[in-house]
Symmetry: C2
Subunit: 296 residues, 2 copies
């Protein structure tokens, strides 16, 4: 299959949906909404919503009516980037090759743009009116899955641990936990959202959860690798910024060669988890492989 | 009726519930959870959860099984205070007479404590398992009401407008809109949450919404008055800090005397909205009056 064409198609679907569902800058709050839109439409790869849609398709369910749920995942991801880039956090000036939100709108506005994107995600998830054929109970389950994944025991907890660990020696176990919270949890939640939409039974839900965890892991390991190997152009941010901040990374524990093996193993684990799925799951398998080969 | 005793009783119920439902500091994330708890248990008046419980009682429904929903309102309120106090925002050193979150834990940790409290609120709202006799559809409606109230077109939008307006001349209409978003929206959502719990019909839901809007307004006007008239001890923060920041307030538009009349009118409007409720709504009426007389 042609993964690039598939991703481009799905991404286009997500872009159109984001343009539809996102607030327009208008009236007294135009400036605030503009700051939300700046980062939301800064050209992300939309991996999380695309994953959600692809999982639903792997379960033979047309994801079109569920696009607002997929969009909520991108709002959450964008909020996390805005807050991570803040001067008090990673203090990054560039994101996806463009000035970070706080560089353009100021620190206060950037904090609030993040707060609003996070909250708006829950507006999308709970919006009045039907969402495809999902029951209210299923929608509630999705909200619970996502909220849990991105809260104190998930994404924010991971970021907190990351900040606390800066410049300190940490164990590999701490690094693993940190990554599974900071990056893995939202990716897994995106997959699980697709699984609820596609009405996966318990066995398939568990298999997809494993798939999500493994690609989340692969994603983070490859990110660490790219930070060592990549060019600024590929990353859209300064190369070696992790090393500059004394951050523990997979290569700092295992060296580049061993880290590459670990990334490949995670990808293999993800593909393996989908053994019982038919060829509708081919994009998911290709996507897992693509994580390893992106930008190389 | 003895409002003080009623409020003390309800507040105690909320404190116990917060202690039950809030995460315990444990393991790698202990520091992060400690920073959330610091502000959550800093001795707030718990007005929003108490309002939610009191509305449910006014509708003859025992609110005990719905305490997690009431607690979510306090998590949201606490998050908003932590972010408002940040150096990039109002830059306050004191809150409720104690050092603000970022003074104790640092700026990065404070931003993340706020992010986690906001997200944890949605965990509470969507948690697996039944909540009293609420249907999933009713729970979804509550999440939608709250998310909308505190997002870009609600609380965060109001805070954004507040920051943008600092030191600039703004119209009274802008001030009104700002207040209705920043303070009014969450108070109204607290009342509406109680209304859904109490299964208010459309007429009563509308009446309670009016009640919520009017006490929200009264609350803000009195806050402006206290900032001019009060003592640091009463406020738990520096007196005159609004004037120091060149913020537009009700007294700066109308003077203290006229502003007092406006506060009284808002309280009267709130009490009026409850005309068709029986004496189970007496705490709500007293609470409206109390807003005007608090700390005087």
């Amino acid at each position: 299959m042609d993964l690039k064409a598939y991703l481009a198609r799905k991404r286009e679907q997500v872009e159109a949906a984001l343009a539809t569902f996102m607030l327009q800058p208008d009236g007294l709050l135009a400036g605030h909404i503009e700051s939300m839109r700046y980062s939301l439409f800064a050209g992300g790869k939309r991996i999380r919503p695309v994953l959600c849609l692809a999982v639903s398709e792997a379960l033979h369910v047309d994801p079109t009516p569920y696009l607002p749920l997929a969009c909520s995942l991108e709002c959450i991801h964008t909020y996390s980037l805005i807050h991570d880039d803040l001067p008090a956090m990673d203090n990054d000036d560039l994101r996806r090759g463009k000035p970070t939100n706080h560089k353009v709108f100021g620190e206060a506005a950037a904090i609030l743009a993040g707060d609003s994107l996070l909250t708006f995600a829950f507006e999308l998830l709970a919006a009045p009116g039907p969402v495809g054929s999902l029951s209210s109970a299923e929608r509630l389950r999705i909200i619970a899955l996502i909220a849990r994944a991105i809260g104190p025991l998930g994404m924010v907890g991971g970021q907190s641990l990351d900040i606390e660990s800066e410049g300190k020696p940490i164990s590999f176990e701490t690094l693993q936990y940190l990554h599974s919270c900071k990056t893995g949890a939202l990716i897994t939640a995106a997959v699980q959202t697709g699984a609820v939409i596609g009405r996966a039974d318990e066995t398939r839900f568990a298999a997809l959860t494993t798939y999500g965890r493994q690609i989340g892991l692969a994603f983070q390991i490859v990110d660490d690798l790219l930070n060592v190997e990549g060019t600024a152009e590929q990353l859209g941010k300064a190369v070696g910024s992790d090393a500059r901040h004394d951050k523990a990374t997979y290569p700092s524990f295992f060296g580049v060669e061993k880290t590459r093996e670990m990334a490949k193993a995670a990808v293999a684990g993800a593909v393996e988890a989908l053994a019982d799925f038919d060829d509708q799951a081919e994009p998911l398998r290709e996507l897992a492989r693509y994580i390893y080969y992106r930008k190389r």
